[in-house]
């Protein structure tokens, strides 16, 4: 194959691949960031970008799977924070083995997610409104139990999970990658995944086809709760204390990341992989505006504007190349 043929093939791949827009935008932002800040590409900075992406990435994977179903869970951050506090109590106050406490908290997180799913499916409530309420419940319980004070003295045994590195990258980043692979496998390679897209595209039609839509929704809500608890517990391991404020900033970012990555709130299309690229775009922007020393009063405006530009570029490229 000649050079022209290879170029045509590469162009064809870009035109047909729904992720090419978001990957292109990410590449552009990385190039601009590395030109603007000499510190952007240093190994320490890349590690902190990876670590930051790990935590928000886990919530983004969870939220993107829910969004494929056409659902949202705004209580994932609160579940993460509350499970972190429960983990702190189990380990510090009750003296439970830290690994057992860690595992228990993941189960509790999955149960909280399942509870959200049950309330959505049984009561036929819109997940957006219901999970706003549940975020208040989990966040409120967190404050009632802790009185707002962090639980310190988390056993050092689990510290490696939050602060350690493997092959030069933070352990939480590897864990996030593992669950990204699991999430992509579930959504793209299993019948369950196909049911998710069917439910997200048209719930009534999916039911008429015999898909047990509520079971699919419950499964995804429980998995999302599990991932939120995992992110919360890894943050506890990272900080060495169970902070009541863990998860406060995990609400809107993952939704924006998913939309940027091609998962609309209306459901039925997109992948967790695309959503992670969206999260990486937000993470890099947030990183570089601090490296550049932009005034904190301008930071929200600048990062918000760049996110809008990123979504617009992706949308324009989708329309132009008709990739959807």
């Amino acid at each position: 194959m000649g050079e022209a043929g290879m170029l045509r093939k590469a162009m064809g791949f870009m035109v047909s691949n729904p992720l090419s827009g978001v990957v292109g935008v990410l590449a552009l932002i990385v190039v601009v960031a590395s030109l603007l800040s000499e510190n952007f590409l240093n190994s320490y900075n890349l590690v902190i970008i990876a670590r930051s992406l790990a935590f928000i990435g886990m919530i983004t994977i969870a939220q993107s799977m829910l969004m494929i179903l056409g659902e949202l869970d705004l209580s994932l951050g609160a579940i993460g924070g509350f499970c972190g506090v429960i983990g702190g109590i189990l380990m510090v106050k009750l003296g439970l083995n830290p690994w057992l406490a860690f595992a228990l908290c993941l189960v509790i997180g999955a149960l909280f997610g399942l509870l959200n799913g049950l309330l959505v499916t049984l009561l036929r409530l819109p997940s957006l409104v219901l999970t706003i309420g549940m975020a208040g419940v989990y966040g409120g319980l967190n404050l009632v139990i802790t009185k707002g004070v962090a639980i310190t003295g988390i056993p050092a045994d689990i510290g490696f999970l939050g602060s350690g590195k493997w092959a030069g990258l933070p352990v939480p980043f590897w864990i996030m990658l593992l669950f990204l692979v699991v999430a992509c496998f579930i959504t793209l390679k299993t019948p369950f995944g196909r049911y998710m897209y069917a439910v997200g595209s048209n719930l009534s039609a999916a039911r008429m086809l015999g898909i047990r839509a509520d079971r699919v929704r419950l499964g995804v809500f429980a998995f999302a709760g599990f991932l939120a608890a995992l992110a919360g517990m890894l943050m506890v391991a990272r900080l060495g204390s169970a902070q009541p404020s863990i998860g406060d900033s995990w609400v809107l970012g993952p939704i924006a990341a998913s939309v940027i990555g091609g998962v609309p709130t209306t459901g039925g299309i997109g992948t967790p992989l695309g959503a992670i690229f969206g999260a990486a775009i937000i993470g890099v922007i947030e990183n570089v505006i601090v490296l550049l020393g932009i005034s904190p009063y301008w930071q929200s405006m600048v990062s918000g504007a760049i996110v809008v530009i990123a979504i617009s570029l992706d949308s324009i490229s989708r329309r132009y190349f008709k990739r959807d």
Partner: protein
């Protein structure tokens, strides 16, 4: 003979090098390293007017160092958008990756911030803390005032205003912020020690003026015989003052505020608040930078620099408004 000469030369050489070494030591004592420029990063708890004053003080110190030594000092102010320890850690990590000459931090939670502070130390970047305490086992210079003393000053002033008898309320700031919690605890302890004083309500304003106003209005509705207020955060008394004005209770409900935000000073001028027990954020920023600069010159710095608290009253409020 050759051996004698060689020994003599060696001895003279050793003596000469010892002399050179001693004169170098004299020139390289603590605080004698000089740099043409310094860059310090200031990381407060959150975007907030109180920390703008810290930044102001930091900029003043940078100008003072430039005037006195000719060295350029750049202050990079990098504030988290919300009071979240994980977010603050990310800001500190990003600051570390720019390799500054020092990082000045107000810790949201000493235990939660510890890991990144250790990372900064591993990277050889000095740290100065302001308005916060050292994480357990660390020995960084802290700059600031005594939170408990500040709250006790306010509580005692309110007791004096009420002649030792009355019903009072305490406005908490952010329940998870250790300094807010400590101020509330110390104010409560002062009130508990006075038999005639009864604490009838405690509000939580999350360091937000609107929330403080709503909470204060509701508490005054529920306790129409309330006599006075103290607060644990800077936003709290501003909201309380607005609620007192709205309820038309100026002069009937006493307010002893906290810190020196411009709105607080206006409330004192208007007579809505009696006074305010203030820490000195500008001074904290100033001395944090001076301490950081001294560390960069190789000086050994103290464990703590106390910037003190001051009571702002109608008599001295004008000097704070300048």
């Amino acid at each position: 003979m050759k051996i004698v000469k060689a020994s003599l030369a060696l001895a003279l050489g050793i003596l000469a090098s010892a002399g050179v070494a001693s004169s170098t030591l004299a020139a390289e004592g603590p605080g004698t390293e000089k740099h043409d420029s310094y860059r310090f990063v200031v990381v407060p708890k959150v975007v907030h007017p109180w920390f703008d004053k810290v930044n102001q003080g930091a900029q003043q110190a940078a100008a003072a160092i430039k005037a006195q030594t000719g060295s350029d000092v750049e202050i990079q102010y990098s504030a988290p958008q919300s009071a979240n320890v994980a977010q603050q850690n990310e800001i500190i990590e990003r600051a570390i990756s720019t390799r500054p000459d020092g990082i000045i931090v107000d810790l949201l939670d000493p235990s939660g911030n510890r890991t990144v502070l250790e990372e900064a130390q591993e990277q050889g970047i000095p740290i100065t803390l302001f308005d916060s305490i050292n994480p357990e086992g660390m020995n960084l210079t802290t700059v600031g005032s005594d939170f408990c003393e500040q709250a006790e000053m306010a509580a005692n002033r309110l007791i004096e205003l009420l002649d030792g008898k009355g019903k009072v309320a305490i406005m908490m700031g952010v329940p998870t912020a250790p300094n807010h919690a400590e101020r509330a605890r110390c104010a409560q302890a002062v009130f508990d020690a006075h038999e005639g004083i009864e604490v009838v309500a405690t509000g939580v304003d999350n360091d937000d003026i609107n929330t403080a106003q709503q909470q204060a209005s509701a508490i005054m509705q529920a306790n129409p015989d309330l006599d006075g207020w103290v607060a644990s955060d800077a936003a709290g008394p501003v909201g309380i003052g607005q609620a007192i004005k709205e309820a038309d209770k100026v002069g009937k409900v006493q307010l002893v505020g906290l810190d020196d935000l411009s709105q607080m000073l206006v409330l004192i001028k208007e007579g809505v608040a009696d006074s305010s027990s203030a820490s000195r954020p500008t001074m904290q920023g100033y001395w944090s930078v001076i301490n950081m600069w001294q560390l960069a010159t190789g000086a050994i710095t103290p464990n703590h620099i106390d910037t003190g608290n001051v009571m702002i009253t109608p008599d001295n409020v004008d000097s704070f408004m300048e």
